[in-house]
Symmetry: C2
Subunit: 329 residues, 2 copies
């Protein structure tokens, strides 16, 4: 019997096991144009926290009692589509479950790049695209810029570090703990701040960003955003990708350096990767080139088994992952 | 004997009389190319608070014990310049004093527009240009947009209201107290929020901005900025002109709705009017046209006498002015 995770009630603050339940998916025959997919890799991403709230947003909230959704990679096991045959490796958005039945229009073959399939849920997928378009389009990072990226050991942040280095930027990352910091350094970052060290981020950033920062790629919000404001150069550009700091919190963000955006003409721009999907070809072309030049490293934190998926998701908010957090079915 | 105000020490928080002293200006003969000007109108502006701090910013700090500076309008009384003769009405930046001696390069004739000379310190001067370029260039306001402007009874805000109306926008202003609100309404605003009414700004704005806001022109920061975030539409643009809320405060800004800038792709852009001085001709052309069409109203709050100038300045932070705050020498 195929199974899927569903949300049983809407969490306030950090969700816990009680908010999730595994439900059975009714088995049915394929209709014309449909495919059946055995999922091998399931994605958990911080943005999913937003879909647990019942508020209007860029993606609709998860429906209570229904299968949740998210990125997934699997193999076609049965097909009534001309486009797919059993054995095909595919990606789709019916995640949080071990088997998906979908119309062919909602299923995509994997791009032709020489990487492990699960990379298309991370560096070569949505998180990687978020890094690429956020850094290069939203923040307009260019050679010689000093780029500060928070959560630099995460799926998005670690890709930002590497793309920024490939583009000739000076890169400062933040991560939590010595091990993650060492990994971010190994990706090519020129300096790494350990935000768990006890030194306030604004002070730690000041010590390594002697000439200020030109770009800030924000995955965190809060003290990281404030530190970026404190050290931003004239005409600095901030790409606001996520604010993991506030997803589970009802406390307001406190900013001491906000008024610096006037004198320094700082631009803060929120964005969503889906605004750039029509330009995916640029992303695959550049990433494919960097892959061949061996410029891209990745790391995955893999949680085994669909049964442990909520655990994997919650780990995103406690620093449980280095690189992309994945569930292997 | 000519006199000027000088700063005696650097205030923390709100300045008071003790931070200011009137000093005598040594009388001297003009050098070649210099002019002597009897000042009639002196400008006090919120940004001057920043110059009282000893921090690197877009304008250098006021030097302690020296004459302070700011916008001024006066009449040439003596000239060793080919460009000016006694009787000429001029503007310059040696304000906070009753008489100025300046090289001709630092003196400008008044633009040829049919308004009172003091208008060139307000609606037809720096505050007006701030409104014009902030609204139309930084925030890219266009016909049909809903524009929210804070401190809408101030020199900048009241001009934003009128330019936005001239451009076909739906305009919501905020001001403190019934009298100011009535004045903002008389300028053409479609709705006005009284931020002193006791209703939180976020609630008051929600009640009048049923379809959200597309542009926010920020003179205040704090609760006004947070309310604008709460009600911003997709791809809203915020022009951050000033944050009078924080100039005299060491408390951090608390924002509850900051994360909305991600899903709604909000752009927040700080700016300084001096970035647009090379485009002043656009401003005078459009403002001249609106003047002729009788679309521009202005109000001045006039404090009489150089002796009372610190009082006028401090009034900016306690809501003492409707329209432009001026000192008449």
């Amino acid at each position: 019997m195929a199974r899927a995770w569903s949300l049983t009630s809407r969490p306030e603050g950090l969700p816990s096991d009680e908010h999730f339940a595994l439900i059975d998916l009714p088995q049915r025959d394929l209709a014309e144009g449909e495919v059946r997919i055995a999922n091998q890799w399931l994605s958990v991403d911080p943005y999913m926290r937003g879909r647990m709230n019942d508020v209007k947003s860029y993606t609709p909230p998860f429906a209570l009692g229904k299968p949740m959704e998210g990125g997934a990679i699997g193999t076609v096991t049965e097909s009534r589509s001309e486009r797919f045959k059993p054995g095909d490796a595919v990606q789709h958005f019916a995640g949080w479950r071990d088997e998906a039945v979908l119309p062919e229009s909602q299923v995509q073959p994997l791009p032709e790049l020489d990487v492990d399939p699960q990379a298309f849920l991370g560096q070569l997928g949505m998180p990687g695209m978020t890094a690429y378009f956020g850094l290069l389009e939203v923040a307009q990072a260019k050679e010689g810029d000093t780029v500060f990226v928070s959560a630099a050991a995460g799926a998005v942040g670690s890709t930002v570090v590497q793309i920024a280095k490939a583009k000739g930027c000076h890169v400062i990352g933040s991560a939590g703990g010595a091990e993650k910091c060492a990994w971010v350094q190994s990706l090519g970052a020129d300096a790494v701040i350990d935000y768990k060290s006890g030194t306030p981020v604004v002070k730690a950033l000041g010590e390594v960003a002697r000439n200020g920062i030109d770009v800030y790629f924000d995955n965190v919000g809060g003290d990281h955003l404030d530190a970026a404001l404190a050290h931003a150069n004239l005409r600095a550009r901030f790409a606001i990708c996520g604010m993991i700091d506030v997803y589970n919190s009802s406390k307001p963000t406190e900013l001491r350096y906000l008024a610096r955006l006037i004198g320094n003409r700082i631009r803060i721009q929120g964005f969503i990767v889906s605004d750039f999907t029509d330009r995916a070809a640029d992303f695959y072309r550049d990433m494919g080139g960097w892959l061949k030049e061996d410029r891209l490293k990745r790391h995955e934190t893999v949680i085994d088994g669909l049964d442990h998926m909520p655990e994997a998701f919650l780990g995103l908010f406690s620093g449980g992952n280095t690189g992309k957090m994945l569930v292997k079915v």
